[in-house]
């Protein structure tokens, strides 16, 4: 079966449903569409980005009330109401995002709970919004001169908007910006080192989710022709999240599935439970709560993976062989001073991890940083790459002071690094992982990505990724899941990712650990080639054969101090170094 057949079947069913189904089911489908649009935003926010919001219902409310008020009190066009609603929603979302997203992850959901409650009470108490009775007499929408005043006609608008949003979200996730978003969950530190502004990505997905909710509210207001505060309370906000989680928060179609399952289940339970329990009330929430706990305990990825198993898989992200290569940075003349660390000192509380360390790396040389475990080498790496702030001292890169700059800005200047503990996105293909390294070499933004207007640039970024993977010897594993590679291959992948940034200085933290003998030789060969091209390499490594055969100069550290520096031969014969590694002679 071809991958697009289920999609075409779904579209056909959706297109033919309204004339064939009774009114009740059309209404049900309308609601599923409206809810799925909000849940789709949560898929992006929660499933992909690892953030969450319980306040989406309040954004729906903003969309609904904006248009309801403007189109009744001032008799303005509903389309103007949509624009105003989107504007108001954007301002609120940006403000909330700005104040909560810098804090740790749970402040956003807590903030959205508080904001959801506030706005609900505000809707209910503002005189001009009709208080708890709400606003009625909202005009019907007209699209292309056609008045949509029945549920059956409105149906097509809802589903067109929803499927459009699904397509946009899908496109966005398969792009340069989308890779940055997918790195948020568990890979922000790495993404920052590749030049991604993760704070921007977080605010972006929060904004998109809020705007989807707002559009859903706008549709709702003109479908119902009446709004009151009830459907915009916290409880509904929780139900939206519930839909995303049950459906499968990691996948765009999970939103549709989740909304469908919950709406139908709710309908059924609302009929069943009160008669079963002999009382009237919203008892379906009891079942919903239990179900949600069970889903999270037993199937964290929701129901979508169960459905997806029966569907044919698309080819995934593929390289186009004809893509042009990306332009490269002007190379540095061999011998140029690239990195100059001057008296760097780093304290963690009372512990001095680095004490007055100075070192330099020039273009076209391999500088090795060695020392026993706990000597402070990785701390030094983190200081140079901007992951950790310095306590005292200076770091200069290409003559510019970089200490105090965030790591993404240092990365943009032409420094790329690998990590001692491999930091990959295990569920993404090797190709997509390395493509993250090209992030700073692309420039097309979110809108272009959402509409897939950036395919030429995207093809060039992917081609660069493929080329670098081939260069490190992983040319046959482009499309394998990064998590399925061996540790040695994962280290090579990290190097390829760093090379994708077209750096002039490469920082490698134990690149040879976990590699087999032949792989080590290939790696050394690659590093020699890079050096000959004029790249500066700073290397932390424990494998002495590897280091001594490759390094031009060596700095030895112990207990946070630099104890020796010089050519490999000099360092090997330095009695202080021998004592540090082998113990004292006495």
């Amino acid at each position: 079966m071809k991958p697009h057949i289920p999609l075409i079947a779904l579209l056909l069913i959706l297109a033919l449903a309204p004339p064939l189904l009774p009114e009740f089911y059309v209404t049900l489908l309308n609601y599923i569409g409206l809810y799925a649009l909000v849940a789709l935003g949560l898929v992006l926010l929660t499933g992909v980005g690892g953030l969450t919001s319980f306040g989406q219902a309040a954004f729906v409310g903003l969309g609904a009330y904006s248009t309801a008020y403007l189109s009744t009190a001032y008799e303005l066009s509903p389309w103007l109401g949509l624009i105003v609603g989107l504007g108001v929603t954007a301002i609120v979302a940006l403000f909330l995002g700005f104040i909560t997203l810098r804090l740790s992850g749970h402040y956003l959901p807590l903030g959205t709970i508080a904001w959801g409650i506030s706005l609900y009470f505000l809707f209910g108490n503002l005189e001009f919004l009709g208080g708890h009775t709400g606003i009625s007499g909202i005009p019907a929408l007209s699209v292309l001169g056609r008045k949509l005043d029945s549920g059956r006609e409105f149906y097509y608008l809802i589903w067109l908007v929803l499927l459009g949003a699904v397509a946009i979200t899908h496109n966005l996730l398969n792009s340069r910006e989308g890779r940055a978003i997918r790195a948020l969950k568990g890979g922000s530190l790495m993404a920052e080192s590749m030049g991604v502004d993760t704070a921007r990505s977080k605010i972006l997905i929060f904004l998109i989710a809020a705007l989807y909710a707002c559009v859903s509210g706008w549709l709702y207001a003109h479908l119902q022709r009446f709004v009151n505060p009830t459907p915009f309370g916290l409880q509904t906000g929780i139900e939206y999240l519930f839909m995303a989680v049950v459906g499968g928060a990691g996948h765009v179609w999970g939103a549709l599935l989740g909304a469908g399952v919950i709406v139908v289940l709710k309908q059924w339970l609302q009929d069943l439970l009160p008669s079963l329990l002999g009382q009237s009330g919203n008892f379906e929430v009891i079942v919903f709560g239990v179900l949600l706990v069970l889903v999270l305990q037993k199937a964290r990825d929701g129901l979508w993976p169960w459905v997806a198993r029966w569907l044919p898989q698309g080819p995934g992200v593929r390289v186009r062989p004809d893509a042009a290569r990306l332009p490269r940075r002007a190379p540095q003349a061999p011998g140029t001073l690239l990195l100059d660390v001057i008296n760097a000192r780093k304290e963690f509380g009372g512990l001095v991890a680095n004490n007055n360390i100075s070192l330099t790396v020039k273009a076209g040389e391999v500088m090795a940083l060695i020392g026993p475990n706990g000597a402070g080498k990785s701390t030094m790496f983190n200081i140079i790459s901007g992951v950790l702030p310095l306590t005292k001292g200076e770091v200069r890169f290409l003559g510019k002071r970089v200490d105090g700059l965030p790591s993404r800005q240092i990365a943009r200047l032409g420094m790329a690094r690998s990590f001692q503990h491999v930091r990959l996105l295990p569920a993404m293909s090797a190709l997509e992982n390395v493509a993250l390294g090209t992030h700073q070499r692309g420039s097309r933004g979110v809108l272009a990505a959402a509409l897939h207007l950036e395919r030429t640039e995207e093809a060039r970024l992917l081609a660069e990724g493929a080329a670098q993977l081939e260069r490190v010897g992983l040319g046959d594993s482009l499309y394998r899941e990064a998590g399925s590679l061996s540790l040695g291959q994962q280290r090579l992948l990290e190097i390829a990712r760093a090379l994708c940034a077209d750096p002039c200085l490469l920082l490698l933290d134990e690149p040879a650990a976990g590699l087999r003998y032949l792989e080590k030789q290939a790696l050394a060969e690659l590093l020699r080639k890079l050096r000959a091209e004029g790249m500066g390499i700073l290397l932390v490594e424990h494998d002495m054969d590897f280091v001594m055969g490759l390094a031009d100069r060596i700095v030895v550290m112990e207990f946070g101090e630099k104890i020796s520096e010089g050519l490999p031969v000099e360092v090997q014969n330095d009695p202080i170094v021998l004592e540090a590694y082998l113990g004292g002679a006495d």
């Binding site: 009470f121 108490n125 949600l292 706990v293």
Partner: protein
């Protein structure tokens, strides 16, 4: 507003603030020990108050059925594990705690004619029904996910809240209840009348806070909880069971919640869903303390109570809006103070 009204509002604010402070402490406790943001805290308040009201009205509280049902579920889950390990002694212990104990409580409630018992015995019975739900809910909902991210735990907490509110409606109906005051006495202090229940609330809250302080500072279990809060792995390596720490913190949170409910039930009408808003106000206090500092959380909670009292005078319709909007300047302040946060998971 004259001085008398100002004092009256301050009294109101401080009484509510004391309750919010208790809840804020429980929230900080649960969050630091288990990383669970304990949204269902408020339901324990409502369950405590409404169970007490049912006992006083001579009705069988529905929470009793929940206690028995949850006990059976825990026994099944834990019993299966015990059987798989072939540990029959553990099996008996599990059954004794989760089946026998609830049955004893049920027996006492059914045959002791609680409506005619003295007030302290009614309080004890109400607590005996509600508090064991804390560790049982921890076992069923949270323990299997103990290593999950804060976000997943938060979603679970919200789900538990949802179920508990629905069950509250089922058990107690949509009508609210008020209970008899602990004391009908009232005192005049100048022009201000202070009633006995106010003093009870303040006294009991202070006593509970002092008891918690002693528990954390002086007892081995208290220290174990603090150790778990500081470093889960480290605590485990020192032989502290994180499961025990989780259950204990949930027990304490349930105790604090139910006690708060019993304390305020004579002052305000409690509905099945009132607890949520009360709990969230504790939250605003806890967030002022950054979900980490006990004294700051308590101070924040009292501030919330005062703000609520005064805003109910000036703009009563916007009371909730004002209280929950307070969280925004707090978050701005926290955000400006925060350093760039590193990788969390």
């Amino acid at each position: 507003m004259d001085l008398q009204i100002a004092l009256l509002l301050a009294q109101d604010g401080i009484v509510n603030g004391a309750i919010y402070a208790l809840l804020a402490l429980a929230l900080v406790l649960v969050f630091t020990v288990t990383r669970v943001i304990f949204i269902p805290q408020g339901e324990f308040v409502a369950y405590g108050a409404l169970t007490m009201a049912a006992l006083q009205a001579g009705k069988l509280p529905g929470t009793l059925w929940l206690l028995l049902g949850a006990g059976v579920l825990v026994t099944l889950v834990e019993g299966a594990t015990a059987l798989r390990r072939g540990n029959t002694r553990l099996l008996w212990r599990v059954a004794a705690i989760n089946l026998l104990l609830p049955l004893v409580v049920a027996g006492l409630v059914a045959w002791s004619d609680p409506a005619n018992l003295s007030m302290p015995l009614q309080v004890v019975l109400a607590l005996a029904v509600v508090v064991p739900l804390g560790p049982m809910i921890y076992r069923l909902a949270f323990q299997p996910l103990a290593e999950a991210s804060v976000l997943v735990l938060l979603i679970v907490a919200v789900a538990v809240h949802l179920s508990m509110v629905g069950l509250g409606l089922l058990f107690f109906g949509a009508e609210g209840s008020r209970t008899t005051a602990f004391s009908e006495a009232s005192f005049e202090l100048g022009s201000l009348v202070i009633n006995g229940q106010t003093l009870w609330v303040l006294g009991a809250s202070s006593a509970l806070i002092a008891a918690l302080y002693l528990f954390f500072e002086r007892t081995l279990y208290g220290k174990a909880l603090r150790a778990t809060a500081l470093n889960r792995v480290g605590a485990r390596l020192m032989g502290i069971s994180t499961v025990m720490a989780g259950k204990l913190s949930f027990t304490l949170a349930a105790l604090i919640g139910a006690t708060s409910g019993i304390l305020i039930a004579p002052l305000a009408t409690i509905y099945y869903d009132t607890g949520f808003l009360i709990g969230l106000k504790g939250f605003v206090g806890a967030i002022i303390g950054g979900l980490a500092s006990y004294p700051l959380a308590a101070a924040g909670a009292v501030l919330v109570g005062l703000l609520e009292a005064y805003s109910s005078f000036w703009a009563s319709a916007y009371k909730e809006v004002i209280v929950f909007t307070l969280i925004i300047p707090v978050l701005v302040w926290r955000s400006l103070k925060a350093h760039h946060s590193e990788e969390e998971e």
